[in-house]
Structures are given as structure tokens and as C-alpha cells.
Symmetry: C2
Subunit: 249 residues, 2 copies
DNA sequence: TCGAATTTGTGCGTATGTATC
DNA sequence: GGATACATACGCACAAATTCG
């Protein structure tokens, strides 16, 4: 006798409501599968499907042998760079700034090397395919938890031989300050925000549960009409809010 | 004999790769459950779980009695309003503009009425709780497919008795143009982008598959430091790219 | 230290309903 | 009507991790 809506979605909705209402706080343990079976008079399969829905939504997390727990959904806020930037800002990176606002310590690791632009990056940077670029892969941590991945590309035609050729080697931090140091005035940043399922690599690097969603941001810095840096940024879905301030006129 | 990774994730990865590589184009039919059972030598349960993973990611869609099909993942692009706006822009809404860029026809339905601000909206608008607001619920369509939900709130203290009190009744379209018409100069818009699972209402209104993710945008327009409009916008995840252009300095 | 109980993770087989072709 | 295929649901089994006496 199939009911409408199906049992597993009704159970999922009940549990979701308990989480969002606060009845089940962060870290709280959900009823066990056996408990749900008795409580709702369903089979183990149905209890599993209900919980798997919530896991797909990223709001709970199963630990084998222990139980299913409400995940920490506190969000970091990422502020896109804009006119807020003050002089002296260049001493600390945008990421460290965002982490500090949330009361967390922002750190990162990086790996820079010369590379050739693939077709996609070449198109974004307005350079020839296979043109030389500086490629830097970042992994950012907030209180030692990995929370952001980023790969940036800068045309070497702009930076080669300058003090800021190696992004993390000089005194200036951040694209705007570094470009400023070599006389390139960054005037605009364009970000394209998208959403997709996390790849296996991202699940690994960001300590995500399987089936997680991520925000992806294609960020491009411009000096006038000339792109000077392109970056692919990956943020765990549901752990981040992205804030944009846009002046009108 | 549990292997690592589990069979259902391996099958899901194979199918995902076939979709992203283009071997399975948009609209193509995936192998049936029976097919997967034979192909991989697994039970129906495992085939089901593999497909359910892809459904959770929103890249395929099951049709009972027919099969599982690759969903259309072409993306609409939403351009946040900024300095791009030209004079005369006020004749067409930002949504219609975005749809036109994608070669689709943008239409919408709306429902306006007087209401009282709840605590959350009051905080965002900087007004007293229960203060009177104009509340307008929108549903936007691209080529007759629902693609965006939005609920906007304007403090009646600003608009009451003016020609633009009812958002969809006057000649001017869009918040900036309407506010301009009553001498309120909108100077900035702030958008907070987030990601969460779709509610049942949203699944219904946007024709989403169960377990879908959505972007949510909390948008606030400011005239100087004064908020003049707040809106909650819901976009289907994976069907939209959000583009922001931010001037530097 | 050990072992038993609990719980999730993965997997198999089957049955019924219903939509599509 | 019949064949196919998905959606939902039941029951069962075993492995692995955790918890706790």
C-alpha cells in the first residue's frame, strides 16, 4: 500500500525538522536505525533510505559502530574583495581576514610552479594556449580544518622577473597588493559561482563526507580589460556563505 | 567480501564519468538496473544505490516505467546588478535580461500584499519587528519552465502612497529604477549566497527532483546606509551560474 | 585485556505498485 | 494487454567500527 508521500521521505522530513528546529542540536545523535524501525513501524531498509537522504543533504554524518550525528553547519563567511579594502590590508590575506571574523585561525599551504595554460585557462586569461603561467595550488585551513581549495594562474608575461613572480615569496599578500607592487592596477574582479558534486579528490582534500556538494568559483582579476589572474576556488557546500557587495552606478 | 571502494560508488563513478565525458549526452538513457546487474555482476540493490547517488547529485533523473536519463545541465547565468546597468535598462527586468542572453524567454508571476515584517526581515531592513512592509512573492519562468523563486520585502514607510508602492503596478521595473522614481538613490546591493537542500515546497514550485540542492541568496538593497529592499531568492542548484563583477578600490 | 552488545556500511533476494512503451 | 522499468518496501546476512562492562 504505497502512501503519498513515501515513508522514507516523511521520516527524513521529520528528522530534518528536528535538526533545523534545534531539537537535535549540533553533535546530537539521531535515533538508531533499529529505533526508527520501531518508532515508525518500518523496515530497516526504509530507515536507511531516510537517513541516506539527510546524508546526501550534508546535515548528518554516519559513524560506523557509533551512530548518526548532526553535523556542524556553522558557516564561514567569505567576503568577496571590493571597495572595502583599506590601505594596509595587504599585510593579511583575504582568507585570514575572513577566518579572523569567525574567530578562527586561518592558515594555508601552497605549491607554486611554472606551467603552460590549458585551453580553458588560456581563454580566461586572454593568452595563447600553452602560454607560460605561474600556477599555484592552495589549501586553506581554519583552525587546522581544511576549508578551501584554490588554484590560481597568472600569465608569466606580466610577472616574470619581477619581485612578485612567486606569489608566496614576497612581502605583499594578495593579488591586488602584489600587482600594485609592479605597477599593475587591478580594477575589477569577476566571480562566477556554481554548484556541483564534489570529486573524489575534493572529498579527500577537504575531509568531506561522500556525496557532498561544493561551491566552485571561477575568479578573474582584471586590470582594465586585461585579465591578470584566474583562479578556481572550491568551497564545501553548506559550510560557507558567500557575501558580495556591489556598488550601483 | 567488502571491497574498497564499495561497488555502488564505483558504478556511480563510472556512470558519472560517462556523463561528464559526453559518452552519455543530455537526455541519454542510462543502462537499466537489470543491465547494471548483469554488467557488473551485482544485485539490484547495488544498482539502485549507484543510481541514487547520481540522482542525489542532480545529474540524472528517473522516470518510472521508462528509465533513468541524463538531465539537462545547461546553466542559466544570473548577472548580479552592478555598474553595468545602462540608462533605459529600467524597461526590462534583470531576469528577462539574463534569460534573453541565454536565448530564452523570461516571464514571471507575482503576488503582492501588505504584511508585517517578521524578526528576520525586520533585522535585515533595520525596522521594528511587525512594522508594515510590502511583500511580493515571485516565480520566474524561462521558456515556461519555473527557474527561480523570490520573495521581496520593502518597508512601507518608504513607498506607501507613492506611484511605486505596488512593485508590479507601475511603469518602472526593478528595485533600482522604482526607487529612483521616488527620489531614493540605491547605492549598493549586498548578496549573501548559500547552499542547502530544497524544501518540499521548492521541489514543487520549481519542478525539482527530490533531494535537490538550491542556491539561496539573501539580497539587500541600500540607499546609503539605509536598507530599502530585502529579498530571499531561491535558484535550482546546478542549473545556474551566478556572476558577480566587483570594482576594486 | 577481553568479549559482548550495538550500530552503521554494504550487499543479496524478493515482492508489489505503477508508469511507460 | 503485455513487457519493461523504476519506486517503494520487506527481510536477511555479514563486516567493520565503536562502546562499554
Amino acid at each position: 500500500m504505497p502512501t503519498n508521500p513515501p515513508a522514507y521521505l516523511k521520516i527524513a522530513a521529520d528528522l530534518r525538522a528536528a535538526v533545523t528546529s534545534g531539537d537535535l542540536a549540533v553533535g546530537a545523535k539521531l535515533p538508531s536505525e533499529t529505533g526508527l524501525m520501531r518508532q515508525y513501524g518500518v523496515s530497516r531498509t526504509v530507515a536507511k533510505w531516510a537517513i541516506s537522504v539527510l546524508k546526501g543533504e550534508g546535515i548528518v554524518e554516519g559513524r560506523a559502530g557509533s551512530g548518526v550525528y548532526v553535523r556542524d553547519t556553522r558557516r564561514l563567511v567569505r567576503h568577496a574583495q571590493g571597495r572595502d579594502r583599506r590601505a594596509g590590508d595587504g599585510l593579511t590575506s583575504p582568507f585570514a581576514h575572513d577566518a579572523a571574523r569567525a574567530g578562527q585561525q586561518g592558515t594555508w599551504e601552497h605549491d607554486s610552479h611554472h606551467d603552460q595554460a590549458d585551453d580553458r585557462i588560456a581563454a580566461r586569461l586572454g593568452i595563447a594556449p600553452a602560454a607560460p603561467v605561474m600556477r599555484t595550488a592552495y589549501r586553506f585551513f581554519a583552525d587546522d580544518e581544511p576549508t578551501q581549495l584554490s588554484t590560481s594562474y597568472e600569465p608569466l608575461v606580466i610577472t616574470q622577473g619581477t619581485p612578485v613572480e612567486w606569489p608566496e615569496a614576497g612581502a605583499a599578500v594578495g593579488v591586488v597588493a602584489r600587482m600594485d607592487a609592479i605597477g599593475v592596477r587591478v580594477t575589477e574582479v569577476v566571480e562566477r559561482v556554481s554548484l556541483r558534486a564534489a570529486t573524489a579528490d575534493e572529498v579527500e582534500a577537504l575531509h568531506l563526507p561522500a556525496r557532498a556538494s561544493v561551491h566552485t568559483i571561477e575568479r578573474t582579476y582584471f586590470a582594465g580589460d586585461v585579465p591578470v589572474e584566474a583562479a578556481d576556488i572550491v568551497l564545501p557546500g553548506g559550510r560557507y556563505d558567500l557575501v558580495y557587495r556591489i556598488p550601483i552606478d
